[in-house]
């Protein structure tokens, strides 16, 4: 029996409505990456993670559970799970990621904060108010819940008098820059990905990496947010010999990740197709989206080395 669509979407939407995220993780876990960095609370310019990198290990854990039950009689039990989830946070019990996965997500965010600081950007952070953007629920068409959630988010930005938002991933960038203004009526928030900010600031590397790598563009950056040159500029400046796979740039091939929550097997097949294309041009692949990273990694099974762009950039621009 395939995973029941209505109940699965229902659980994610209920969570966003009741617990402020599709997979509720404690606010202190979302903000744990910033511990010890001395980032100011709030401010006109903030680094907004939208909890996306932090959420991905939990999504992965849930998907492992879903993959096990997909096509089994247990899939039919999800409807009871939805009922129970309204009372107790059952999705959090199903999704317990290992500490190593959480640490590697947190490290990416630390890298991004270091890069921005090194480029002279003055920014604050919202800590436990760094709310999820609603991206997955929006994609699943749970628009009413997402609309209510964006009003909550607008309240947070107002409370901290935020004027400029620096985002860290394509899904959050798209939500805040292209979706959020229509839903909240707030059009004066300036939203930029940290990659755009680094290029604008003229970030200069401290050392050359002298290595070859393939670039996997994110669909949303490439086709919706026009973030196409920034990643190339920063990596080329850092001395990376960039290899473009078949279907790159504006015509990049999706990692399959968006199908993960409902059709895990189909998602893996799609990711495998992309891994084949990437493998042909390099054994090392740069990603810029947490969903692409985990989905391609799973499909590659260690055959190629996949790493978030922030890792390369921090080694070139902050170390040396």
């Amino acid at each position: 029996m395939p995973l029941p669509i209505g109940d699965t979407v229902g659980i994610l939407a209920d969570n966003l409505r009741m617990r402020k995220s599709v997979l509720p993780i404690p606010a202190r876990s979302t903000a744990a990456w910033a511990r010890g960095l001395g980032l100011a609370r709030g401010g006109e310019t903030i680094l907004y993670t939208g909890g996306m990198y932090q959420l991905v290990p939990y999504i992965q854990a849930l998907n492992r559970f879903q993959e096990k039950i997909e096509d089994s009689w247990l899939a039919g039990m999800i409807k009871y799970g939805r009922m129970a989830n309204r009372v107790i946070n059952i999705s959090a019990l199903m999704a317990r990621p290992p500490g190593s996965e959480r640490e590697s997500s947190d490290r990416i965010l630390v890298n991004i904060a270091r890069l921005l600081r090194r480029a002279g950007v003055d920014f604050g952070y919202l800590y436990e108010d760094d709310l999820y953007s609603g991206a997955l629920a929006y994609d699943l068409g749970a628009d009413d819940v997402v609309e209510a959630h964006t009003r909550r988010l607008a309240g947070v930005f107002k409370k901290y008098r935020v004027k400029r938002v620096i985002t860290v991933d394509p899904h959050t960038t798209h939500m805040l820059r292209s979706v959020y203004p229509a839903l909240t009526g707030q059009h004066d928030l300036q939203v930029k990905s940290y990659l755009e900010v680094l290029v604008e600031r003229g970030a200069v590397p401290r050392k050359e990496l002298r290595l070859e790598a393939a670039l996997h563009d994110s669909c949303l950056y490439a086709r919706c947010e026009n973030v196409l040159q920034e990643q190339r500029t920063l990596l080329l400046r850092a001395g990376v010999d960039l290899k473009e796979p078949a279907d790159s740039g504006r015509f990049t091939l999706c990692c399959g990740g968006p199908a993960e929550s409902l059709f895990p097997k189909k998602a893996r097949e799609t990711a495998a197709k992309r891994v084949e294309q990437l493998k042909k041009v390099s054994g090392r692949v740069v990603t810029m989206c947490p969903i692409c990273l985990v989905n391609l990694r799973k499909a590659a099974g260690g055959e190629i080395q996949l790493e978030d762009i922030s890792g390369y950039l921090v080694r070139a621009y902050c170390e040396g």
Partner: protein, 100 residues
């Protein structure tokens, strides 16, 4: 035998959010779609435009399988906003079928 349901087409129109009228039915979108599901998105949109509600309800999986990756959109000669149309169909099904 699936039947046309003019009320379905009307109901969809009443939201003012589904717009695939410009579609030329050329099939480019289906040819490039990484999901390789026959129905996505051209046939699905045809069913909605023609008001063949049964077919849409029989194919709920296809509606939710779309990655919203927009590879079809950048290749579409008629600039159909495929992802937004698919998102609307999910919204519709969430409300009308799944009571979300």
């Amino acid at each position: 035998m699936p039947r046309m349901d003019p009320l379905f087409a009307e109901e969809v129109n009443s939201f003012g959010r589904f717009d695939a009228r410009a579609c030329l039915n050329c099939g480019v979108c289906s040819a490039v779609c990484p999901m390789g599901i026959e129905l996505l998105p051209r046939k699905l949109f045809r069913y909605v435009l023609l008001g063949v509600k049964d077919r849409v309800l029989e194919n709920v999986q296809a509606v939710y399988s779309c990655l919203l990756c927009r590879l079809c959109e950048v290749n579409c000669p008629a600039q159909v906003r495929v992802a937004e149309n698919v998102r609307f169909l999910r919204y519709y099904l969430n409300k009308k079928v799944f009571q979300i």
